[in-house]
């Protein structure tokens, strides 16, 4: 079955699916503008619905079983293209893929007596119902997004009057009472311009064994290493990373530090080792 679906994949370049967005011609541009989307599809449900609609099927158990191969082929392609998954995004895809496989397997097996035989059957049924529920729910919101889009679009033809009053009115404003010294103002600016530490998204982590890795913690680790070492290679900075997640977090932290102008990079030649320098002073 893998062969068949990858042939299909060859005929249907991944990009073509994305371009097919029915209600937003500018989607391709806008997507780059706004969000880091998982390659081409905003999530497993989006992909699944798209695959189903391409086959002009309604959302049924049969439809799900039919598109299973394509779904899995797609996530394989993405994996091959990206090299590695982002953990949080991959997990949803994997959960959906596993459920689809279960459904497909159940359909391939002899029909049996029609009664639920063991706990494994019950688990498949529950997973199926859950997947249906989530898929239908997602589809409903997708429909509403389309509706919102049309309303926004419709509304965009009207322009609100947004015109300041004549100057003689604004001169009536009470005189501005200013109390900040330049130093206080600078301190305020420093606080506002400091990189925000995002409140972490509360993710269901019960099923995960490894502890959550935070980029800001790893940023602190890097800062300590670099302040001591001055210049270090990326390899040196990550040699004590205990897991892939820590490695990724260090990498992201480096990007943030670079963005903030706290570090700079040196690379003698393409693909050569990356040397990181601490360029912010001591505070």
């Amino acid at each position: 079955m893998a062969v068949r679906s990858s042939e299909r994949a060859g005929e249907q370049p991944v990009l073509a699916l994305e371009q097919a967005d029915p209600y937003e011609p500018a989607a391709a541009d806008a997507a780059q503008v706004f969000a880091v989307q998982l390659v081409n599809f905003s999530g497993p449900f989006d992909l699944l619905l798209n695959l189903i609609s391409r086959r002009e099927l309604d959302v049924t158990e049969i439809a799900l079983a039919e598109v299973t191969d394509e779904f899995i082929a797609h996530i394989r392609r993405v994996q091959a293209a990206e090299g590695q998954w982002k953990l949080d995004e991959a997990s949803e895809f994997l959960v959906v893929a596993a459920t689809l496989l279960d459904l497909k397997a159940a359909r391939l097996l002899p029909a049996g007596t029609g009664t639920v035989e063991d706990e494994a059957d019950i688990a498949v049924l529950e997973a199926r119902d859950l997947l249906f529920a989530r898929l239908l729910q997602y589809r409903a919101f997708k429909e509403m997004a389309r509706e919102l889009f049309h309303r926004f679009d419709d509304e965009a033809g009207r322009h609100p009057r947004d015109v300041p009053p004549a100057a003689e009115i604004t001169t009536l404003l009470p005189a501005l009472h200013w109390t900040s010294t330049p130093e206080e103002f600078a301190a305020l600016a420093a606080r506002v311009l400091a990189p925000r530490s995002e409140a972490p998204l509360e993710v269901e982590t019960g099923h995960l064994v490894s502890p959550v890795v935070s980029v800001s913690e790893q940023s602190a680790v890097l800062e300590e290493l670099l302040r001591a070492g001055g210049r270090m290679t990326f390899r040196q900075l990550t040699e004590d990373a205990a897991s892939a997640a820590v490695l990724v977090a260090r990498f992201l932290a480096l990007l943030e530090l670079f963005r903030d102008g706290a570090v700079s990079f040196e690379q003698a030649a393409p693909l050569d080792g990356l040397v990181v320098l601490w360029s912010a002073g001591d505070d």
Partner: protein, 239 residues
């Protein structure tokens, strides 16, 4: 509307010659002495309360509520409300309404709309192509599909945490939510008492961009979601 015809003092420019001018009347609910004693009463200025409302609408940079207008003008809210409804009709090309013999006026190039809880002047839609040249200010960029879907979930599930939105869409939504907040379409409205997570809701700007009066006027989602009653709270129980 079974309202009586609007009293003369705020529709002095009715298109039809007024056969029997009404006496200079003060608005019914407004005790004569209440408005500021020093400056001349609005009713004595050319155009009266009606023109005063127009004057304020000219400088409003967001929908103005009837309460706000009533407070600034020191006139009863129901009077203000009738003036607004009357102006809207007039801009749309309806005349006083009592003289069917007179040819209806053409609509003006602008309209007065009651959205997001207030009233605001807009250019009329069918002139968008000529108007667009004058309002280009970079705010017209479109939302991505991901942003629209996230916005839809927040609009229909508010107040809602990012985790729940994420569960419904099947992907992380942090950066998309951040974008929506930056664009003023959603806002942190409260904090979940249990988890401490920020809960998001839509803003007045969202309603305004959508052209609706309130969240309750959003198109119904139920037809798209069979058995929503049963499924609706699904994400509550698992997340």
């Amino acid at each position: 509307m079974t309202e009586p015809p609007v009293p003369d003092e705020f529709s002095p420019d009715a298109e039809s010659p007024d056969p029997e001018p009404q006496p200079e009347s003060t608005p019914s609910q407004d005790p004569a002495g209440e408005s500021g004693a020093g400056s001349p009463a609005l009713e004595e200025l050319p155009g009266g309360v009606r023109a005063a409302v127009e004057a304020i609408l000219m400088v409003a940079d967001q929908p103005v509520t009837e309460d706000h207008l009533a407070a600034v003008l020191e006139r009863p809210k129901d009077l203000v409300q009738r003036v607004l409804v009357d102006l809207r009709r007039e801009y749309d090309g309806y005349t006083g309404g009592n003289s069917p013999t007179i040819e209806p006026a053409a609509p003006r190039g602008f309209e007065l709309r009651n959205i997001a809880g207030g009233w605001r002047i807009y250019s009329r839609k069918h002139f968008s192509s000529v108007v667009a040249d004058f309002v280009l200010d970079g705010r017209s960029s479109r939302l991505s599909q991901a942003a629209l879907e996230t916005l839809a979930v927040i609009a229909y599930r508010q107040p809602v945490s990012r985790a729940r939105v994420s569960a419904i869409r099947g992907v992380a939504v942090d950066s998309v939510v951040r974008t929506l907040v930056q664009r003023g379409l959603v806002v942190e409205v409260e904090t979940d008492p249990v988890s401490g997570a920020a809960l998001y809701g839509t803003t007045a700007l969202f309603l305004e961009k959508l052209g609706v009066g309130s969240v309750s006027e959003l198109p119904r989602i139920a037809p798209h979601l069979p058995g929503i009653e049963a499924l609706g709270e699904y994400d509550d129980t698992t997340f």
